[in-house]
Structure formats: structure tokens, C-alpha cells
Amino acid sequence: MSFAPLRLQSNQYQTIIDHCLDGFPCEACGLLVGSVDKHYEPTGEIDSVHPCRNADESTRTYTVDSRDLLQVTRQADENNLQIVSVWHSHTHTEAYPSETDVRQALDPSWIYVLVSLRNPQPEVRAYRIKTGQITEIDVIVSPE
């Protein structure tokens, strides 16, 4: 099965990077809201980017603060959209899902975005995780 690529506008992309850098040395996290198709699969088009608090305040794990999750869920509902993706940073490792990420992957229809900060230039990659199977998808960044 082929998955739609993740399409971000450059300002959305930058918001993700900035939030990850601001959160350093802790992992940072956030949510992406977008549309889904008739099969409830993300179209890959992102309507809005929502930096969230990491309730764990940890360098190794993240949990999206449930108050932020509630707020983003409400906003998505009001706009007839859905949360389609979560992003988080890996501060010292590659932009690839960890065992914990795979084990705790909540929703097989979500796009899981990893931002590695181990090099001076942050690296952003995106994946789908279904029944433990990791599939990388393209990230396409377009001008605003």
C-alpha cells in the first residue's frame, strides 16, 4: 500500500523545527491537523500546526499534554478536520521511530513525524506505523 506524502508549507515546517529547538534538551512534541479521505486516510495536506507541551519534560520520552490535546481536538472538530499527525524530536538520535514510538503508536492512520537534532541542521522525516510495521513517507515542503 502506498501512502500519501506529508505536505507542509515552509512556515509550518519552520514552526515544527523552532518548537523542537526551543524544547531542547527535552524532547518536544506537537500535533498536525488536516483532512482525511473517505477511507479515513490522511490526504497529507496540513491545515494547521500545533506545538504542544511535553508533559514528561524529558530528554528521552514525550507525552502530549492532555490539555493541549483537548484544545487541538476541539479546534479540529469545529473545522470538520482531524488530528492526522504527531511530531516529536529526538535530541541525540536519528529521525527514525524508536521501539517506544512503535510500541506506543496510537493510531495507524496517523503520520508520525520525527525531528532529529543530533546534527546542526535538523532532519525531518515522516512515517506510517501500522501493526509494528514502519513505512517512511515523503515530506514535501512548499513555499507559503
Binding site: E27, C29, L31, Y40, D56, R60, T61, Y62, T63, V64, S66, R67, L69, L70, T73, D77, Q82, I83, V86, H88, P97, S98, E99, T100, D101, Q104, A105, L106, D107, S109, Y112
Partner: protein, 91 residues
């Protein structure tokens, strides 16, 4: 007494695809009991084997996390919105 229960996308398949359903009960516990009677597939998502709230699920009564109220015994008034929010986490 009717309240609105918001179902997260990952649990909607267990609730006939609905984003929200009517809930009946005076507490979250009663509402969930009614809910899992109608949608048995939700039970494993909401409650552990002892009948406690699953540790990876957050439940809000309007703007308040029920863990900081009375847990499953938190009272719910007519017109309230109960939101079920699975933990979004990783490492």
C-alpha cells in the same frame, strides 16, 4: 440524563464510526458502564481489568481532567461534554 461523549478517532470503529455519542449516567463511571454495554469494543480501551480507568486514557469533563476531580466517580451534569483522549506518547 444525557451528556455528550466525544470519541477519539482511534476508538470510533468500536462506536459505529461516531465522533460523539449520547451518554447516560450521573457519574463518569455510570456513563462508561452504559457506553460499554452499547459498544462492548470500547471497554478494553477505557478500563483495565480491575475496572479502573486505563492509565493511557485521559478523560475530561468539559475543561477538567477527571483524575484531578473524583476519577470515575466524578459527577456529570446534564449538558456536560465528556471527552475521551488516549495518551499520545513515545520516546
Amino acid at each position: 440524563m444525557a451528556v455528550e461523549v466525544k470519541i477519539p478517532t482511534v476508538m470510533r470503529a468500536s462506536a459505529d464510526g461516531q465522533a460523539s455519542v449520547d451518554g447516560n449516567g450521573l457519574t463518569v463511571r455510570e456513563i462508561f458502564s452504559d457506553l460499554v454495554n452499547r459498544y462492548p469494543g470500547l471497554k478494553a480501551n477505557l478500563l483495565d481489568q480491575e475496572g479502573n480507568l486505563h492509565k493511557f486514557v485521559n478523560v475530561y469533563r468539559d475543561d477538567d481532567d477527571i483524575r484531578y476531580l473524583e476519577g470515575l466517580d466524578t459527577s456529570v451534569s446534564e449538558g456536560a461534554v465528556v471527552s475521551i483522549l488516549p495518551a499520545v506518547a513515545g520516546g
